[in-house]
Symmetry: C2
Subunit: 484 residues, 2 copies
Amino acid sequence: MAPQKNEKNQLFLGLFIHSIKLGELQYLHDTAVCVDKSGKIVAVEQLFDQKKAEETLYPKLGWKTEDVDVTIAEDGQFFFPGFIDTHIHAPQYPNSGIFGKSTLLDWLNAYTFPMEASLSSLPKARRVYTRCIQRTLSHGTTTAAYYATIHVPSTNLLADLCLSLGQRAFVGRVCMDNLGPDYYLDESASHSLVATRATINHIRSIDASFDLISPILTPRFAPACSVEAMTQLGALHQETNLPIQTHISENVDELKLVKDMFPDSKNYTDVYDRFGLLGKRTILAHAIHLSEEEADLVAQRGSKVSHCPCSNSSLTSGVARVRWLLDKGVGVGLGTDVSGGYSPSILDAARQAALVSNHLAMPPRAGDKRPDAERLPEDDRGRVRLSVEEVLHLATRGGAEVVGLGEKIGGFEVGKEWDVQLIGLGFVPDEDDSTEVKQIEDTGNVDIFGWERWEERIAKWVFNGDDRNVKKVWVRGRLVHERR
Amino acid sequence: MAPQKNEKNQLFLGLFIHSIKLGELQYLHDTAVCVDKSGKIVAVEQLFDQKKAEETLYPKLGWKTEDVDVTIAEDGQFFFPGFIDTHIHAPQYPNSGIFGKSTLLDWLNAYTFPMEASLSSLPKARRVYTRCIQRTLSHGTTTAAYYATIHVPSTNLLADLCLSLGQRAFVGRVCMDNLGPDYYLDESASHSLVATRATINHIRSIDASFDLISPILTPRFAPACSVEAMTQLGALHQETNLPIQTHISENVDELKLVKDMFPDSKNYTDVYDRFGLLGKRTILAHAIHLSEEEADLVAQRGSKVSHCPCSNSSLTSGVARVRWLLDKGVGVGLGTDVSGGYSPSILDAARQAALVSNHLAMPPRAGDKRPDAERLPEDDRGRVRLSVEEVLHLATRGGAEVVGLGEKIGGFEVGKEWDVQLIGLGFVPDEDDSTEVKQIEDTGNVDIFGWERWEERIAKWVFNGDDRNVKKVWVRGRLVHERR
């Protein structure tokens, strides 16, 4: 069950849009992109059509016309890099939208641990994971960094399903030998490690080079891991150089807990650092309440941040200061954090990232008695806002860096792999005099009237788009989702 | 072209869910609701089926079986009161999602005034308004309080289209004889009034008793209206008792403008009050930065507030303190504020209302040096959060009160009119072993696994629902939207 190779070479034609740097989208009109059977981009040529590609590119590539599948972005459609979800809990997917008025710590006990524990059942895990993968693919997520549960068999099943359904994934068996409820807890630190190794071995058996599926070390978060477990996970990282994912500084009560549990550490970030868990391949989810000193340490170690605005607003955790992190040189991507976040869509995460950045920029509320000196200066208020172009960068190229695949995915360059979505927006007919009860053609909520510039269409897509606009999705050149 | 009467009586069967008071949804299982040809609810009976209705209700109502259309909410479906959008600018609909990094005043000049001005063209107005009405109906909006433009013919067309497409509406010709650009401004205060009367007369000619379509006095906002215009609008309200809609206290730069322009007024609220524009039938949009004194005055006058969270986050305006307003006894409903808000969906507004209330409850940010005494106490922080049940109340019964139709719509009681949506959620099949590229059945993003309680299904709907879940929509008993 190794990753599939594609049967044919592929030619993609039309409009390609991608982020070339933070805040700048590039629009490649009338462009041809060639993708070989291994799923790699081997040519990108502007002002090309099919005939020109056949005449000039195929000979260079040694391709024969009959050995090439052609996909054309129709008028109003465009190719866009697949989204990268840098933080998602697959077993929590059935709880999407169910969180009541909880905040992190009571939410874990009321909703999350019971659901995760129940995924010891393989049939249930199969049903939940299959739907979670299908759903995220349908929203254009070509890569996901998944937390599974503490159970080895169902974690391995998640890896199997990602491979067979074709989603690029990091799959982490969750390590937690502390603080969890009796019914959902690793027996010991050494058990945590044995189980982690079992999943690593399983993934190696289905995808030897981790081309599509990679294991990822997953200490749930500092309060859920004993000193022994963290020490051993640090050693395992040292041994394998596998990536690491965990949570940091999400909730103020969590901060107190960490302070009490690790009195010798300078701060939350230092806890991970002490155990060798803060490295270039570490994905830190949330990072809301970091101090200057902590953020500097994160930057220095080259660790990355998964920004999860939907979750942070839902659980009343706070607002991560993304501009501040970016200014320090910290790599930032977006995470849905299902089901702290209710939405499986990274487009939704991008939208929320823009909105919560505006919340950081809002003027003081009536009754705010702080002296001016303690408020964000007016000039800076505008700067903390994230633009449409910036959140799309975080959703693609930013996310690729966070998961350590910056060289492999996130844009349309020769040598990158074809992890791409074909996006189509709805067009409003010119005349519509009908007064009858009628069905709006189901192309989603992005209404294009025809006069909009492409920059405006992209803004409309970011704010009103949904999975209906995602017509096709490929990972490594393989078509993994199709609509209609 | 008076409002249509329905050809048949109607029986609705199944699960009905509505808000009976702030924070409490009632679930009426196995219920029968009878609606007569005028669109009024004439019977609501629990634990009823079709046979029992035919045997015991029809005779009482003088109905014959062949004269009754029957609609059954299938398993997993339910009837819910139609949504009420208490603040929407129909002519801005094509700009949904297009606002860049603007805030209120530059947004008006860059995006809004040019678009509104262009709707002097009747063909363009027809295209834009038709789509706006269809779109909002498809999201379950059965009543909308519309701002049109300064143009009488296209404002009248909006009223015609609402009537023919069957959406209950308040239609306001926008009064603005001040501050607007040369190309988009009433010539004078008296012209403002003549034009306003022209639209009132037109609406009277198509719907004499304002049963479905009502005019609404619409001074854009204080800075856009001269003292003369506001004085005359106050007199017109006195004369006609027509409802009023305007904006208040949305943006801090707007506050400064009002202070400069109306130096004699104590505050923004007092400006409207002085001109007799602050009454029981006044809908005030935004109300973000009101002082205690202003909110008390709003409460005292019985004016209502349209809370527009999506717009307020998009334009970085701030967060309205809904709990604080409700505590003062101010009636609050929800508005999309298209296109300050990007979404035409009141379900989306409900979701955002919950999220932004969480933002009010968030702990202070790192670096916040305020003494504890100036922060919202921890106990109050939880209380300002709005629950799923509360935001659904604002979306229906709360909105009905805001637009002055509390007696007519918003719930399932005998005597109310049948403004209702039929909601259906998606069901995840038990077994899904397919590894093929496949189409997720297009029932939207609400995935029901089967074990969820109804309260949890409603939460899932609020957070992941969209127009795909709105199967049918009726206004006054008339089917005005249907999906599939």
